[in-house]
């Protein structure tokens, strides 16, 4: 939190964050994430077979020329499933997390602006945080059934308090600063202060948190698949693929390597991005 105070001393311009991303760690992070995202987006072009195509070639094969990552127990090509599986996680990462972030940020913003909303919002955040994500997941799955939608709802719910608290802290710390107080005295409206001072400062800690949350989202999706309440078969996802691979580890070792590497690349990429943005913020 003291970092936020220090950084808020003078507003940072977005271009500095951009510059940080294009150098060193940030670049590596972007590249890692970019490779995985591109692989997922280009799945229809890159994948040799359909994701659910059950082939006559053989069952639980190790890596062969026709099947670089082997086949699974229902005779499907693992490489194709991996490429299409990335898409499901992209949906979760690039849609569910930002939605949760947006809702949370909005609530946090509102809460910090109006006193009475603050109390309600804070307690709500605590309430959601009080339920460990996986337990929330199991409970929601019992009510809603398993599937991508349930996974997304769990992630959105989990992100709301995190971003809400973050934005709230950020706004409150900025408001205390002398020059901001000064502008209020001079007659600037609440909205103007928010837009001109608060938002730019929060933006960087928000993006850092966004990167971290995205990597956590990948983990939650996988954990839910492990518990049998994640993405519904036959749709592949990184989590289900890792689980299938672990189940067949004695027979077809190569099956688990693909999705695991994809997950590691995503998580590492996001963490490097967040690290480089954090460094830029601190200067």
């Amino acid at each position: 939190m003291s970092g936020a105070l220090a950084a808020a001393a003078a507003p940072r311009r977005p271009s500095q964050a951009r510059a940080a991303l294009l150098r060193g760690q940030g670049l590596v992070g972007l590249v890692l994430v970019g490779i995985v995202v591109l692989a997922g987006l280009l799945a229809p072009v890159l994948a040799p077979y359909g994701p659910n195509e059950q082939l006559a070639d053989g069952n639980l094969l190790e890596s062969t020329a026709g099947h670089l990552l082997g086949t699974d127990e229902v005779s499907r090509d693992v490489l194709s499933r991996l490429l299409y599986g990335i898409r499901v996680d992209l949906l979760v990462i690039f849609i569910a997390v930002p939605i949760g972030a947006a809702i949370g940020s909005l609530v946090g913003l509102l809460a910090s602006t109006w006193g009475f909303a603050d109390v309600i919002a804070q307690r709500t955040f605590d309430l959601i945080l009080a339920f460990p994500a996986l337990i929330l997941a199991i409970t929601l799955a019992t009510i809603m059934g398993p599937g991508v939608v349930t996974v997304s709802v769990v992630i959105i719910a989990a992100e709301i308090p995190i971003f809400g608290r973050l934005v709230r802290t950020s706004v409150l710390s900025v408001r205390e600063l002398p020059y901001v107080e000064a502008s209020t005295v001079v007659g600037a409206s609440r909205w103007w202060v928010l837009r001109r001072h608060v938002l730019p400062n929060s933006l960087e800690s928000l993006t850092v948190q966004l990167a971290v949350s995205m990597s956590v989202a990948v983990f939650v999706e996988g954990a839910m698949s492990f518990l049998g309440i994640g993405v519904r078969p036959p749709t592949p996802s990184l989590g289900t693929l890792i689980n299938d691979g672990m189940r067949n580890i004695y027979v077809a070792k190569v099956q688990v390597v693909g999705p695991l590497v994809a997950v590691v690349m995503l998580v590492l990429g996001f963490l490097l991005i967040s690290q480089s943005l954090g460094k830029a913020r601190r200067g």
């Binding site: 060193g24 760690q25 590596v28 659910n52 059950q54 069952n59 639980l60 094969l61 190790e62 127990e73 229902v74 005779s75 019992t142 059934g145 398993p146 049998g228 309440i229 519904r232 078969p233 036959p234 672990m246 189940r247 067949n248 580890i249 004695y250 027979v251 077809a252 070792k253 688990v256 390597v257 695991l260 590497v261 590691v264 590492l268 490097l272």
Partner: protein, 536 residues
């Protein structure tokens, strides 16, 4: 900056690679061993797969087994592996069935006689049996046990049969006469299943605090979620067991069970996947105890009240469209065989010819679908936790879509699936396992949820079916001409109306250390450790 960039990546990759390589080191390329030594359906009666070439039994040692699901006292008679572990070793039954026949063998009952009208069964009981508390076993305990078993709240499989016992004559301590409401062809199925309980400690049975029986092992403790501990009963009427004791660990994760077996932490596991069984066998360091005669079958059920499945032609199309061989080989790794009817080869209702009525014939299936016209999407429910059901469901979906039947998979959890099964509430198709084909044929038709003629999971109602089921049940002898005729009718209905479609059958397998010998089992999966021993 360069080192900071590259190193995290490189180290990470190294870490992952090391983990993968080392995880692979202990394995064997089992993929090629698909149909190797797996399904040995022709095994004979004495060959319970634990026959040893190594001569004399050694005394001592504690047998450690592991299974996924824990004991649940209120539903003890439903017989999951943990409950079967206790039922098989702590309790005796009046008679026992050998693995591959339906000829009753004496256990607590020495001899028996059925009255001419089939409505009274008199059994002579052993007089040298005591419960673990020291109290002598008498005919009153038989009455008590059957009455407990018949209590609907205990959700026992043979409840209906037990309820058909309407009176007892326990005037003599070592003779009991069961008075039946009508001749009951599966009365011995009941007697081969009901554990003889101690009426004095039934309260403790209900809470799981103590299980008192007459069997070769005494109950020591149950730590919920953790383990069941038994110790040898030195005064057992059949002779003291070789083992000092037996323990069952509750290990929910199947892979952890396999690791524990490989590490030597346990001597046997119940829940290895068929893929793991293959690689355990291929390693040459373990034995596979195929519990021949306990018979489980994978089937597709159809709710005949649902719009789309009302039409029997659609159900027929499904019977032709599903690739049973693929399921047997790919999902069950060769441990299962395709079937059309639920009976094993020694069952009086078995018919080799009828068992191959429906084989893979996509053309016929497409033709039938074509006749029906536009087929809406059919839901296919299955229990998500079960890898066998999940993989089979995906294969079935692919098979059906190839002949023009669109399918939507509906994963459920165990609680929901049980409710849907008992209440007939499946939205469409479902795939799961059933057992009890290994008993007298009438058992399936009058007691099993998928088959019960009175009320079944498919909501299939047919006077002809009810008539045939009752005829099969109310025959005094399972093999009388009237009974055989009834079985034929039941088979015809099963094959024509297809309210459920049998796929493959298999026997459960316990993967164990090669040092384990002398294990036998009942048809209910209950291991009998009376003569088991561990060689060293």
């Amino acid at each position: 900056m360069r080192t900071t960039k590259a190193l995290p990546l490189a180290l990470l990759a190294l870490l992952v690679a090391v983990a993968m390589v080392s995880s692979g080191c202990g394995s064997n390329g089992g993929a090629g061993a698909a149909t190797a030594a797996s399904a040995d359906e022709t095994a004979t009666a004495g060959d319970n797969a634990s026959t040893d070439a190594g001569g004399t039994p050694t005394d001592g040692g504690v047998l450690k087994l592991a299974t996924s699901f824990d004991v649940d006292p209120p539903t003890f008679f439903t017989g999951n592996n943990a409950q079967a572990f206790i039922a098989g070793s702590v309790y005796d039954r009046l008679i026992d069935y050998p693995p591959d026949s339906l000829e009753p063998q004496p256990s607590l009952a020495k001899a028996w006689k059925l009255s001419k009208d089939g409505k009274a069964l008199t059994l002579q009981l052993r007089d040298d049996v005591t419960f673990h508390t020291g109290r002598k076993f008498t005919s009153k305990d038989v009455q008590f046990s059957i009455e407990q078993y018949a209590d609907p709240k205990r959700v026992a499989q043979f409840q209906r049969t037990a309820a058909a016992v309407v009176g007892f004559d326990t005037s003599k301590p070592y003779e009991v006469t069961l008075k039946l409401a009508h001749p009951t062809s599966n009365i011995f199925d009941l007697l081969a299943t009901v554990p003889i309980l101690d009426r004095r400690t039934i309260g403790e049975f209900d809470t799981g605090k103590n299980f008192v029986g007459t069997g070769p092992f005494e109950f020591v403790s149950w730590t919920p979620g953790s383990k069941v501990v038994l110790k040898a009963n030195k005064d057992y009427w059949g002779g003291a067991p070789h083992l000092e004791g037996a323990e069952l660990e509750i290990v929910p994760n199947s892979q952890t069970q396999v690791s524990q077996l490989r590490a030597g932490q346990v001597d046997g596991i119940y829940d290895a996947s068929f893929v793991d069984l293959q690689s355990l066998e291929a390693s040459g360091q373990f034995q596979l105890l195929k519990l021949i005669g306990t018979d489980r079958a994978l089937y597709v059920g159809a709710n005949v009240e649902s719009n789309v499945l009302k039409d029997p032609r659609l159900r027929q199309a499904i019977a032709y469209a599903v690739d049973r061989d693929r399921i047997a080989n790919d999902v069950f790794r060769g441990f299962a065989t395709p079937i059309n009817l639920p009976w094993p080869s020694y069952s009086p209702a078995y018919s080799a010819k009828d068992n191959t009525t429906y084989t893979l014939d996509t053309d016929k299936a497409k033709q039938l679908v074509g006749e029906i016209g536009n087929v809406p999407t059919v839901p296919l429910s299955y229990v998500a936790e079960s890898p066998n059901a999940s993989a089979s469901a995906q294969i079935i979906q692919s098979n059906l879509e190839a002949v023009g039947i669109p399918v939507k998979l509906e994963p459920t959890d165990v609680a929901q699936a049980t409710k849907q099964l008992i209440g007939g509430e499946y939205p469409g198709l479902w795939v799961t396992e059933h057992s009890f084909g290994q008993f007298s044929p009438s058992t399936l038709a009058v007691t099993a949820y998928p088959f019960n003629a009175e009320q079944n999971a498919s909501n299939f109602a047919s006077p002809a079916y009810e008539k045939a089921a009752d005829a099969a049940w109310e025959s005094p002898e399972p093999k009388s001409p009237a009974a055989l005729q009834a079985y034929k009718q039941i088979n015809d209905i099963l094959l024509k109306d297809l309210f459920l479609i049998e796929l493959v059958d298999f026997d459960p397998v316990v993967a164990a250390t090669p040092d384990l010998h002398g294990v036998t089992w009942t048809k209910r999966n209950e291991l009998d450790l009376a003569n088991a021993y561990l060689s060293h």
